[in-house]
Amino acid sequence: MDFFRPPMMDRQELRDLKKSIDFGFKDFSRNYGDALESIFDPLLYFLVWFEKLLVGAPWPVILFVIAVLAWFGARNWFVVVGSVIAFLVIGYFGMWKDTMATLAIVSVSTLICIVIGIPVGVAMARSNRVQSIITPILDVMQTIPSFVYLIPVVMLLGIGKVPGLLAVCIYAIPPIVRLTNLGIRLVDKEVLEAADAFGASYKQKLFGVQVPLALPNIFAGVNQTIMMALAMVVIAAMIGMQGLGQQVLRAVSNQYLALGFMNGLAIVALAIIFDRISQNYGKRLQKHLEGGHDD
């Protein structure tokens, strides 16, 4: 009968294995945690500074900046007015400070994702081997339950903004990498041949042909990254990240219906505003390129 049982490690050995991994990690954290933490210090200072800037700025200034961004992104009065009204309502319901904290984290994490994600996506598009190594890593990052990596992150970096930011980035970076890769791979072979024929260097081909033609896809990636970052706000609040997520958690554990809906809807409002702005911007890029192509 033993044959029919799946092969399994001895209980004691399994326990020892788990223990040794845990202790190994603890030793690592004890020895290198401080060094790792100090690497992230500049990021922390920047985050704190940025959040203070947003929270401290007078509200009309923020509204003005939002309106200008909305106009440059979407070129659509409807989006501009909608964004301003959404922020006014958020402020009116007393969620201004939390919204600014969330806004700071989401913008910084999106920025980090873009800065890291696009080069990685380009590298993946350049080489099939790199793609075959990175794709499974992205799969893991997107599907592993967040708490599994939140605990080691807390052991290494403590609780607060930086670990929250890392958690957000782990979850939010895959779309931009994938879509950059896809966009560049989808660029017409004939266009590349033409570029080769004109004697374009590698750099010229990449920045003059491939990236511009892939921009609509890359923007779809940016858009998705922002959405995923906002979705992670509540999870990251579980390791002490300030903002709307913390209020949602408070509402959930106290069954405060109104508080939960208000803060949840504030996150939705941020998401819709970001989405419309970045999506319309991407669309306009596409139109512009298509127009140029036809001429």
Binding site: R15, K19, K26, S29, R30, G33, D34, L44, V48, F147, L150, I151, V154, M155, L156, G158, I159, G160, K161, A237, M238, I239, G240, M241, Q242, Q246, Q247, L249, R250, A251, V252, S253, N254
Partner: protein, 334 residues
């Protein structure tokens, strides 16, 4: 007719059972709560009652409020080894006054409760920090990562009752003007993680926790006396535990005493006999309890495993709760 016969049969059974109960305590259910220390205690009680007193004890899963309600209304389960009664002390006292529920042991675990804690290393390095008042004058020893000019006090995650309590004590002790920040760890895992990280690295940490827990046992955390007395029930129940807007003028106060009891139903009290004496005598010393919780966590053991380990390795503790022949019976039964 059938029903009457059934009733008679049941009554006969009851008489028969109560007769055997004089020799043994009969069948009894014990609430097995869904947290580690209570589950462990329930399993120890089960083994000792079964082996030592000839009961037919069974565990039933439970949680504080459902178990209390069921004991009060239905008389089942018979024993709840660890009930944290602070939140519903009035209904509990009412049930005790009515005689439906009895306190078998007013303090089954010694040295338990909520409060503010520091790591043992901090206590050793800074012997001058004797009370919370001393610590509050030294925020620079507990720097807050996001604003190092301030001290960090780790409070409860958003939504826990103790978050309100800590926030009001924060105001009562005027911690803001003394240079402290209330840090919300976001979740139980965040609170544990912040403490574990600090202790593992030998950093200072100052925050809320409670005992008995594996975290306190594992890291030998030191409870800090508040340095002020408990400032009365009115201040605590009428202000400190309430949301900020309902507590205009909180006064500094030590943490309220945690009412943790072993409670039994009237039925168990009347037929339990010697088993009641056991319940009254069994008081776990705090360090032993914390040690068992650490054992459970390190070995991923459940309450039943831990009970056997406890009965084997802490004979000196539990043999004092029972007579020597009961102890011999339990030992033989292991």
């Amino acid at each position: 007719m059938k029903r009457i016969l059934m009733g008679l049969a049941a009554a006969g059974m009851a008489i028969f059972m109560s007769q055997t109960a004089s020799a043994a305590c009969g069948s009894v259910t014990i609430a097995d709560m869904n947290w580690a220390s209570a589950s462990f205690m329930a399993n120890v009680d089960k083994i000792i009652l079964n082996k030592g007193y000839g009961c037919d004890a069974e565990l039933v899963p439970g949680d504080t409020m459902p178990t209390f309600t069921s004991m009060n209304e239905k008389g089942e389960p018979g024993v709840a080894p660890e009930i944290w009664a602070n939140a519903f002390i009035d209904p509990l006292n009412a049930a005790i006054a009515e005689g439906r529920i009895h306190t078998a042991n007013p303090a089954p675990i010694s040295g338990l409760g909520e409060g503010w804690w520091i790591p043992p290393k901090t206590a050793k390095d800074h012997p001058e920090l004797k009370t919370v008042l001393d610590i509050l004058n030294h925020p620079e020893l507990f720097p807050y990562k996001e604003d190092p000019s301030k001290g960090a006090f780790y409070t409860c995650p958003a939504g826990w009752g103790c978050q309100l309590t800590n926030a009001n004590l924060y105001r009562a002790f005027e911690m803001e003007s003394k240079g402290w920040v209330l840090v919300d760890p976001g979740s139980a895992a965040g609170l544990d993680g912040s403490m574990a990280k600090a202790v593992e690295r030998g950093e200072n940490w100052f925050g809320y926790y409670w005992s008995p827990t594996a975290m306190i046992g594992k890291y030998n955390m030191v409870p800090v006396p508040f340095g002020v007395d408990f400032a009365g029930k009115e201040n605590w129940d009428g202000c400190i535990v309430k949301p900020e807007q309902e507590c205009a003028d909180p006064k500094p106060s030590a943490w309220t005493k945690s009412e943790v009891q072993s409670i039994v139903t009237d039925d168990f009290k009347s037929k339990g006999g010697a088993a009641m004496e056991y319940l009254a005598a069994r008081t776990y010393p705090g360090p032993v309890m914390n040690g068992m919780l650490v054992y459970m966590q390190d070995n991923q053991a459940d309450g039943a495993d831990a009970a056997i380990e406890f009965l084997k390795s802490h004979e000196d503790v539990w043999t004092q709760w029972v007579s020597s022949d009961v102890a011999a019976k339990v030992k033989a039964g292991l």
